[in-house]
Symmetry: C2
Subunit: 373 residues, 2 copies
């Protein structure tokens, strides 16, 4: 293992290399490389989608957990620039309004996520154009049987660790469908930049997060806030802390949280919770005013507050800021696990749940009764 | 004050009538009456909307906090039945894709919510058809100046307490636009039924929630779960606990929470958090299987778990189940406040925030520069 990883493990917590048995740290540390690899792999997406209609009313993206966040990232990126509506469905039921004038993208890393398969099956019935993004499973099998194009994800990852591939896959699909190019080029430049400065960024991220770690080590639970276009970053950080560190962590978007959750921030909350605010160069002045108030209120009630910002050199480049934040917060979530002497990779409860569901629900028989031999 | 309220206060906590200085308990207890009143008041909505186009691509609803939940309720109600997409915007920025082929409904109880006014101002620029739902303020003023129809909310409520009016207003608008009638009639029948059985339901709700209260009194923080079509009910309960009881409470939808948040449910969480699951007759068998697993997992880790279900007599009537749950969980949130000796009505921090924003941001000058004398 290369020198930088040993240094990182020692910096996080001496001996923590032995805790990280499946090397999740290496996975998150090679985020820029994964982006570049994905850019190469998905250059053939336009060819793959030749038969997909372009004159659609909107894109509906079905995905759960780690496979939901790719869609949220795309929504953040396109929110204030694209004429194409993006709807996210993290549910087993496809909304009634989705008909053949929409495009469905079904995202499931394993290809066996029941919720996504149900939406996929319903979309086949409604004759909706579909693109699948998966590494295999039933989604791959029934996509091939139904001539649905499959954008392949590489095998051997934890679903949440395949985010860079999902992000690039979804951007490639969107650029192909809309003809609005430019984002992948920008992403490619950021990824090169992130790769060139990677080792330094890794060490600095751990150094800068020491107050975050200290609040975690005191047993406080993080409440995470961000706003458009950083919503995907905030929600991902929550889920990465859940899955890597196996701790509770909660997310709510601003300014919505100022209309309700802010009432829970009283003196009495200071021995249980701390606040984490994710910000960036896209912050409007009226958002700054709101966050100023929130921070003063938290201070007045002795609530520890952590701010995370992207590297200043990515200022004004939305997609770079998002990726830089995901890269560094993923690392922080893994380091949080290691500080707590927890192996970040296994998610025992989710694995048990999957087995329980397999035992009780025969998805293939229910959804594709005629097609199985 | 009528006998039932005194009995309720005594049942919740002796002397708690003195804590509830602005009678929030009476407000939530008269929920069925408010629904019936709103049904009468909004019978003239069709006339009001004569000039609004019917051939739209979808409805976009802008609203924050208490004014967001009306839209979420509508989305729950229409999710699996309506051909019209409903998009919710709880953000100051209107997504780029929204153009004059959509209808915007701007919901702000006070009419001075900056986020909603920004979306409203942008929609005027883009020449998008608009309907406003408000009790006054700048939204009323600039709606009238721009010939935007206003569906009026009654004055003198806390914004969150105007939910029954917002729900009926949004349903009336939707029935008028789509021509799909029937939901208001069903709502009217439920409201009559709820009113007839009200006093009994109030006492029973407090009785049935005693385990919920006992977890709160132990200082545990509730994590609330529900699923389509009960998402609005779960999110509202979280926000009502925030605003009425001034405590932290968190919400995540199922099955999404099973993909990440479930990892935080370990033995160590049992002295800080408890789980609250909201369920109903719309539960699919595959959701039941997931919730069975979740409950077993929580039990195995000594996490207290509370289930809330609608009255069995509303089984199969989605809209009645939603309203019955909101009615009873609103009451529980007020009772939670009173158990904690907290006056449910004032939301000091939010009031302070509004003053701070008024001092720093001149919304009217920025958004309507030419129109002000």
């Amino acid at each position: 293992m290369s020198k930088i990883y040993n240094e990182l493990y020692e910096k996080i917590s001496p001996g923590s290399g032995n805790v990280d048995k499946s090397h999740m740290l290496v996975n998150v540390a090679t985020f820029p490389d994964s982006l570049l690899h994905a850019l190469g792999a998905y250059s053939r997406v336009p060819k793959l989608l030749e038969k997909i209609p372009r004159d659609i009313k909107g894109i509906v993206i079905s995905g759960m957990g780690g496979s939901f966040i790719g869609g949220l990232f795309l929504q953040d990126v396109l929110y204030d620039t694209s004429n194409l509506p993006i709807f996210l469905v993290r549910d087993p039921i496809l909304p009634q309004f989705v008909d053949s004038s929409y495009l469905l993208i079904a995202v499931s890393y394993s290809g066996n996520t029941e919720e996504t398969l149900r939406v996929f099956g319903e979309a086949l019935q409604r004759k909706i154009p579909i693109i699948s993004v998966t590494s295999g499973g039933l989604l791959q099998k029934y996509s091939e049987k139904n001539s649905v194009p499959v954008v392949s994800l590489p095998q051997g990852f934890q679903p949440r660790a395949a985010f860079p591939y999902m992000a690039v896959a979804l951007l490639s699909i969107t650029e192909t469908i809309t003809g609005d190019v430019g984002l992948l080029k920008q992403l490619s430049e950021c990824a090169e930049n992130m790769k060139a400065t990677r080792d330094e960024a890794l060490m600095k991220t751990i150094e800068d997060a020491k107050d975050f770690f200290s609040n975690i080590e005191k047993g406080l639970t993080p409440l995470i806030y961000s706003y458009r276009p950083y919503i995907s970053v905030g929600y991902r950080f929550k889920t990465q802390l859940n899955e890597n560190a196996k701790i509770h962590a909660f997310y709510l978007d601003l300014p919505e949280a100022n209309h309700n959750e802010i009432m829970g921030w009283r003196q009495e909350a200071s021995d249980k919770f701390f606040a984490t605010i994710i910000r960036g160069s896209q912050e409007q002045y009226y958002m700054t005013t709101r966050i100023e108030f929130l921070i003063k209120h938290l201070e007045a009630n002795n609530i520890p507050t952590i701010n995370f910002l992207p590297e200043p050199r990515y200022s004004g480049k939305k997609i770079c800021e998002l990726l830089d934040l995901v890269f560094r917060l993923d690392l922080i979530s893994v380091a949080t696990a290691l500080k707590l002497k927890t192996d970040p990779t296994p998610v025992d409860t989710i694995t048990k749940l999957k087995k329980y569901l397999e035992k009780h629900i025969d998805v293939e028989k229910e959804l594709f009764p005629q097609e199985r031999p």
